[in-house]
Amino acid sequence: MAKYKVVHYINQFFAGIGGEEKADIPAELHKGEVIGPGMAFNTGFGDEAEIIATIVCGDSYFNENIEAVKAEILGWVKDLAPDLFIAGPAFNAGRYGVACGTIAAAVAEELGIKAMTGMYVENPGADMYKDKVYIIETKDSAAGMRAAVKSMTAFALKYLKGEKIGASCEDGYMNQGVRVNFFEKERGSKRAVDMLLKKLADKPFTTEYPMPDFDRVEPNPAVKDMAHATIALVTSGGIVVKGNPDHIESSSASRFGEYSLAGVYDLDENTFETAHGGYDPVYANADADRVLPVDVLRDLEKEGVIGKLHEKYYATVGNGTSVANAKGFGAEIGKRLVADGVDAVILTST
């Protein structure tokens, strides 16, 4: 059987070119060459796979020219058409880890070629890319190279052969936030007793199911100078331009609306209405200021209490809208508001 073809990515240091002083070297393609840790990989692959090319790039160069260098490397990898792309291992080297994650994820995503990397769990590249590409957990320094190569090689061969990848703890990759079943050695009750014994003795133990993140976002600093601040209005109360031109659904909304407030000083029943299906719409339809206080904010703008009311407002319907959608709306609206130079937001809900 023909050997699987592997392309390997490493930085200037592991290529033996130099340390920080050489971190600005551009990407180089070394066809048919096996360099640095690649030798150990090749040995580990035996006659099942081989490295057909090595790509070397300086860490600074990569991170300062991400888009260009990514395109360049993707071009090479596309032509080489390997069965697998391996980056690193990067251990705890931050910029190297980010580069490995970026390029491996790009190869997987954009070329549809199997890709993987390896690094230490606290490498910033790990958090950024562990849900996008297989990242094998390694020690924090190159002293752990032998172990890293061993586990990465084992994973690579399994992956290449199309064998079922097990749970993260079985196959040594970082958990991708996806629950995967596997059989433990001990039954559940025994594991529970062992865990309790550790907990009783105040020894460290690892829960098998970490409770979902009770994700909190730290509050942003307060507005210092309200008299010059741009304030934007966002509502989940479904206030839309009369006739609901964007067809915001009355519940389980799949989109949000962006509407202009230019020249609007007071909302009235001829121009604005609510699309919200979760409450009695009579009051909001009669006077939408009751949900979206444009009239008052215009007054305050005139009086100089606030710098200005942002010229656009955003609306969606909170009623039955899925968490994922609501999150997506928030992120997109946030992006647009920041781009428009807004300083703070008043979000109204019914």
Binding site: A167, S168, C169, E170, N175, G177, V178, R179, V180, N181, F182, F183, E184, K185, E186, R187, G188, S189, K190, R191, A192, V193, M195, L196, L197, K199, L200, F205, T207, E208, Y209, P210, M211, P212, F214
Partner: protein
């Protein structure tokens, strides 16, 4: 309380003229068992079958699984409140037929579920692919209401299990294990330096097809209480739960409660296993508040240092699980919970319907939504008529080539929440 369990290893089950146990072989004459079933006039007919590990056999829909046992010394008899009077069990000597199980099967409602495959990939997920199974399929009289039918099949299972258990009376066990719990003061004096550990088991008690009984009492009516774990071994807790095959606790798993066994294994060595606390999983929210208040209070009054908390089912019980965990932890009692997950077919959704930071030590029985393809097997005991209707099945479940595409949910005890199996997830 001190209970000896004498284990008689059953190596084969055969139909024969005379019902008996000889050299580890259980000989059964179905005609001896039929009258035991048919004494309930709600059951029209019954048939028996045998399924052995490795055979190309699928049993479905499974209602309950029971281990035949007989009480030969000490107060009371097995399945108190059903087959025997309500004397307190859990002391003396009980004989158990190991390596075999009585499986009750048959349709009770149209979406009835529970699959036991004796071979193939599905077999790995159910503990009952490793037991010799005597299967009992009941047919109800015309027009019988669902809950009457459930009760009839449930009770018939206990009677038959007891009848088979009786065959063991007088037989020398292959192995004997002794389990002993001490009085509160006694235990403290004997093991002054060992942490005091309890086991809190939540029993499924939501209503029709979702019930559990303790000494014959519907457990949704109880206030949480303490029992000796040895009582559980004598069948003080039995299952009336038919839905959610993967994470319901069949009577067999109550009798062989793995948490109890594994806590006993440490009893007197690293811990002092004080007692079992039983509580319920009612649908009424105020009942949940009351019950979890009570369990937490019991843990405190018993001066427990730690507990293991197990649940049964999905959704509603997740709230009880979290309430119990939160309140018990708040009493300073260290808690480990055993559960399973519904993380979606892709494993990306939130696993439990409820959550709290206090639940920091969790053992999981795996993701019940994971999909598995079950091959066509040669023989079906029960019926495949309803396989499309069961939990975790879909309209494309029964595929053209005869294979089944299902979620693990349909497999009996696949993700057991008392930690009976080794399946887990990360």
């Amino acid at each position: 309380m001190r209970l000896e369990i004498g284990k008689i290893n059953i190596t084969d089950i055969r139909f024969a003229e005379e019902s008996k146990i000889e050299s580890g072989v259980l000989y059964v004459n179905p005609e001896d068992l039929k009258p035991v079933v048919l004494e309930d006039d709600k059951i029209k007919d019954v048939c028996f079958d045998i399924a052995k590990p490795g055979e190309s056999v699928r049993i479905t829909p499974v209602k309950d699984v029971i281990e035949p046992r007989v009480k030969v010394e000490g107060k009371g008899g097995v399945f108190p409140g059903w087959v025997s009077k309500v004397d307190t069990v859990g002391s003396g000597k009980t004989l158990a037929l190991k390596g075999m199980a009585l499986v009750t099967a048959g349709k009770i409602v149209g979406f009835q579920e529970g699959v036991i495959d004796m071979t193939g990939p599905g077999a790995a997920y159910t503990p009952f692919s490793k037991t010799l199974n005597l299967v009992m399929v009941c047919e109800p009289v015309e027009g019988l209401k669902q809950h009457d039918y459930e009760a009839a099949v449930r009770k018939a299972g206990f009677r038959v299990a007891a009848k088979i258990g009786e065959l063991a009376r007088g037989i020398e066990p292959d192995d004997t294990c002794v389990y002993e719990t001490l009085g509160i003061k006694e235990g403290m004096e004997k093991y002054p330096d060992l942490p005091r550990v309890g086991y809190v088991s939540m029993l499924q008690t939501q209503g029709l097809l979702h019930d559990t009984y303790v000494y014959g009492v519907d457990a949704k009516k109880i206030i949480p209480t303490i029992i000796s774990p040895t009582e559980t071994m004598d069948g003080a807790i039995v299952s009336g739960n038919c839905v959610s095959a993967c994470d319901k606790n069949p009577t067999y798993i109550h009798q062989n409660n793995p948490v109890i066994e594994d806590l006993f294994a440490q009893h007197g060595k690293t811990i002092n296993f004080v007692c079992q606390i039983i509580t319920n999983e009612n649908v009424y929210l105020a009942d949940k508040e009351r019950s979890s208040n009570m369990t937490a209070k019991l843990c405190r009054m018993l001066d427990l240092d730690g507990i293991i908390l197990t649940q049964e089912g999905f959704g509603n019980p997740d709230t009880d699980l979290i309430m119990n965990c939160k309140k018990i932890e708040a009493e300073g009692v260290k808690t480990v919970i055993v559960t399973d997950e519904y993380a979606g077919r892709d494993g990306k959704s939130q696993s439990l319907a409820d959550a709290d930071v206090a639940a920091d030590a969790v053992v999981t029985g795996g993701n019940a939504n994971e999909v598995i393809i079950l091959p066509k097997l040669d023989k079906v005991i029960g019926t495949l008529d309803y396989i499309n209707k069961i939990a975790g099945a879909s309209d494309k479940t029964l595929r053209e080539d005869g294979t089944l595409e299902v979620e693990l949910q349909v497999i009996t005890a696949a993700t057991n929440e008392m930690g009976f199996g080794t399946l887990s997830a990360r």
